[in-house]
Amino acid sequence: MSAIPKEEYLFKCTSACAGCSSSLCLRYVLKAAGPDSVLVVPACCTSVIQGIYPGTAMNVPVYNIAFAAAAACASGLSNALAALGKETNVIVYAGDGGTVDIGIQALSGAFERGTDFLYICYDNEAYGNTGMQRSGATPLGARTTTTPGGKPTAKKDLDRIVEAHNPPYMATACSAYPLDLYKKVKKALSIPGPKFIHILAPCPPGWRYPTEKTVEMGKLAVKTGTWILYEREFGKLTINGPSKAAMKRPAPLEEYINGQGRFKNLSPEIMDEMRQQVEQNIQRLSREEAGVC
């Protein structure tokens, strides 16, 4: 952790919920990016977390924009800065709803055009600031306010959609591994073109677990193989340390599921399906890393 700079660009006066992991991630993202950075934020928890006008918890410029528009707004900003000869980092910091659902067209367009920017999706697997409605990123079986009986379909595989655009750099990260996130942001910003980082960001009120368990919940997601940490540089996949071990010997899925109220009373059938999804994902990525596709 000694490599991480002491400078703060997200101050302590945020309006985040207790135990919020997305604000924790943003703190490390900004430490990695440094002061010559602009954040583009669509409607999401970060719209709230930054505070109410005229106050702000942010110490870099933040451009708030409509829900579907983050990647397109960042495109314009990135091109404007290029026209002015500036090398400022343009970073989208968007939730899962604003990425996998309403914002996916703009995201796809910006990646196809080769926009020079970093798009970070912090994924708490539901529409958080509106009170936890299901999003395309909500996992199978999870109860949300619009899936009170549990979500009947699987989580949308955002990473494979982004991968189809062949970006020069894409990675997954998790709030429980801040140094890994910090290094990935640093690396991403050193590469020209469209970069993508997908962060799993556990959410105490949404996932219904005690606030002090935010870090533990992120670690369990990785240890059970539910969330796999990897990087894909110019198409080459590297599984990162914590996930290498987890993929060989994943912890029982119950350790992750049972601590969360959103998965209460899962049927054995759904639980089996979830186990199969984890297993399939592990096998797919293992094969890809081994060059056996």
Binding site: S47, A69, A72, G76, A80
Partner: protein, 370 residues
Amino acid sequence: MLTIATGNKAVAAAVKAAKPGVIAAYPITPQTEIVEQIAEYVTAGDLKSQYIPVESEHSAMAACIGASAGGVRTFTATSSHGLLYMHEMVHWAAGARLPIVMANVNRALGPGWNTWAEHSDAFSQRDTGWLQVFVSTVQEAYDATLMAFKIAEHEDVLLPVMVNLDGFALSHIMQSLETVEIGDFLPAYHLPHAIDTENPLVYGPMTGPADYFRFRWDIERSMRDARGVIADVEREFAERFGRSYGPTEDYRCEDADVIVIAMGTLGKEAEVAVDRLRDEGIKAGSMRLRWFRPFPDLDLARREVVVIDRDYSFGFGGVLAHAVRSKTGIAPYSVIAGLGGQEVTYNDIADFVRNRHPGEETWFGVSDHV
């Protein structure tokens, strides 16, 4: 330089002269020729702009917002469904106080698919905080686009400007065009609230009622100030380049007993109708409304008025007719004509005047005096 061009190419030529830093482009009939021509300028190196071929109009306006806030002059063009698809961002651009210039080639709205002229697309955006000017000739399309940048970027305005030209009836019509050497007519782009990492600010965060309400008033205050700025810019343009414009273009109105008010190409067509009517001894005049937002003050005292609307507000009436009525207290003869590109000739317009029924509404060729 004297040349001939379509309305679309005239807009593109003005954009080339204005040298935006970023242009967002998405095709839609009948606007496409504008973004195609600009792409040719950029590819040939005649225009050194960043050209963003976005995947939708919503993203076109979002990209213009990011670019304008980032500190460069921006332009985009759209029409009809494209304008409606970007509606959310049209509001955002004005609320963010960004001097974006957009050409909107006026076109009807589906269903059914109809690519011909109508003003309903622009009027559906009338309450967004954009300045809206409607042009009637190829030359005016060029001149108004050039002036739009200067008006939008004026420190007393800082609001976006929509330049409206009728689909096909102007966008694809060839007329003579005199382009100008703009010299220092357009100053370097300067946005007081441009994004600056040396002075980190938060733009558009959550805002409580008291501040939000004040920001809305600031938009209206600028919209009111824009009247004077428009007059100043149009005066300077006339001094430099010899062509003068105003909030309305009045033709033979001084001694007129009856005045035809219309917008866009129909407003120009009305001038021919006025000449015909004068030949018959009817003292007619025409007033082509150029600026729809900010809406000008109209002097129509003691005149009868015929308003032609190429639009309709269902359950209410012609948008222009009601604007004229609310501004002047005069109950006009309201003619709804030209929807979906319906042909309306100067003879038809002369007939509207001859057969006028003040206070009534007619759907030309469809339903009389309802």
